[in-house]
Symmetry: C2
Subunit: 325 residues, 2 copies
Amino acid sequence: MNLRKGNLMDVRDDIKVLDATIRDGGLCNNFEFSDEFVKALYETNVKSGIDYMEFGYKASRNMFSESDFGKWKFCKEEDIRAIVGNNDTSLKISVMADVGRCDYKTDFLPKSESVIDMVRVACYIHQIPAAIEMIEHFHALGYETACNIMAVSQAGANQIDQSLQMLAKTNVDVIYLVDSYGSLYPENACELTCKYINAVENTNKKVGFHAHNNQNLAFANTIETLSYGVSYLDVTVQGMGRGAGNCASELLIGFLKNPKYNLYGILQFIEKYMPALREQGVVWGYDLQYFCTGLLNRHPREAIEFTNQDRKDYAEFYHSLMDNY
Amino acid sequence: MNLRKGNLMDVRDDIKVLDATIRDGGLCNNFEFSDEFVKALYETNVKSGIDYMEFGYKASRNMFSESDFGKWKFCKEEDIRAIVGNNDTSLKISVMADVGRCDYKTDFLPKSESVIDMVRVACYIHQIPAAIEMIEHFHALGYETACNIMAVSQAGANQIDQSLQMLAKTNVDVIYLVDSYGSLYPENACELTCKYINAVENTNKKVGFHAHNNQNLAFANTIETLSYGVSYLDVTVQGMGRGAGNCASELLIGFLKNPKYNLYGILQFIEKYMPALREQGVVWGYDLQYFCTGLLNRHPREAIEFTNQDRKDYAEFYHSLMDNY
């Protein structure tokens, strides 16, 4: 039986907060953030004690055309350096590499030549062997690595157990529980957490959690899984991320007791930079259509389509989802 | 040690959902709902399996002028009957009576002559003796009774223990944990829940929970406390309630497994009736100013004022709260 680690007043040194605004938020605006925005967010994160900032994806330029996306879909070394220089700060830099959508053998420098600290490999559960191959490649290059197993709410218990056993034997540093569909309740999320925590017992590996806010549970699930031993916590400013978005940076930073975290700067960033995104028509955050897909443990694509069409017939939408269960 | 009751697939017959939209939502629009709205909500609640509907306050007409408020501030018998007739349904009707703001000795009929089923007495913790006097009065008249102890996040542990011991000896049917400031995390809320549950052990009394959404935790705290044995769960449609609002009806009804609850009708109600309220300028729901007061365990009055002034300088607002801790 797993118990809560620490209590609500504790400082836990294993906690690491990862700001994924540019990466998950980039899914809302085609990664078209201004350099000013990214630079200001970087400086805010440094000042606020955030541990990692994810700049985007390292997507294959053979599969995706650079002219179709903002630059943070590709995270070229020179683009990151244009923001952070040599990053002489305590903030670490991560990028995400999707299994099957990344030229990982050619697109990554050795860590000694890169300003990137961590590569997070995102995969669905049937892609674990492919993810492991990438993880070992990145580890050999000198990077910290994470494996983000997506859509875990649709995976079978055996699949999860087997995947965790496989990952426990690799050089991966962090294994992430990812609630892609925002369908986990705190009780589910904590049960899964305990499974992940048990799998990495007696290793130096840590467990991470990435939330989606379809049922308004992103923050709750984050602090509940944290209390059962999750160390790496993904956030985005004002929850900016695909569909219903993620756990909001400000909520988690308000919660954490470690005095290195600082809420004030994040609030300043929000009031200065976030309204302009909304005014440009960038849309994210909790709404009833996302609740419906989260409740039914489905990919949010139909809800995103509903949003793009500016539909408001929620009952009919729910009905149609039930018809296509 | 208290453990979770049941699991996520269970139907628990002790669960009762109470829709407080007109009462807590009335704090957002001065109780000025149209009869059409209230009637449609009543019919929706009946159809959706909601157990109780709260129509508003029974406020003193000596202390508050009827011309200053909508009628649901006063909940006269004839006004409720104009909506529900004799209420020949399975839905029960509740009203709220505030300690010190209610002429309880003169304003309540015997239950045999009233369409009201339950009276909920709201008090701060220092008013428990006054609340008990009212509860015994309403019990003697034949009503079900609840005691809603507000702002419990600011009460001392001893005060809470003593209050629960006192209430356990009365005829009250339900004791409510009320997170008035939206400052409780699930872990706090569940610890408090266990205290309440232990206090009513070996009685027929039940425990209730009333959430506020300042930190986007209203739904999470509701389902977490429910899992530790809370039976009475307050909701409002789209979370409509003072400041950051409450636990949304649709989220909880989506969660509950008892087939008597029906989400579809609630979604229909929302799309038909709720946009008009927003268009009239009625404002509620999670926003950063409410997060700040919730985080600091404060009454939301400064955040409501900030909202009414249409301010967006969140960092300065947070700063000013810290200066006046």
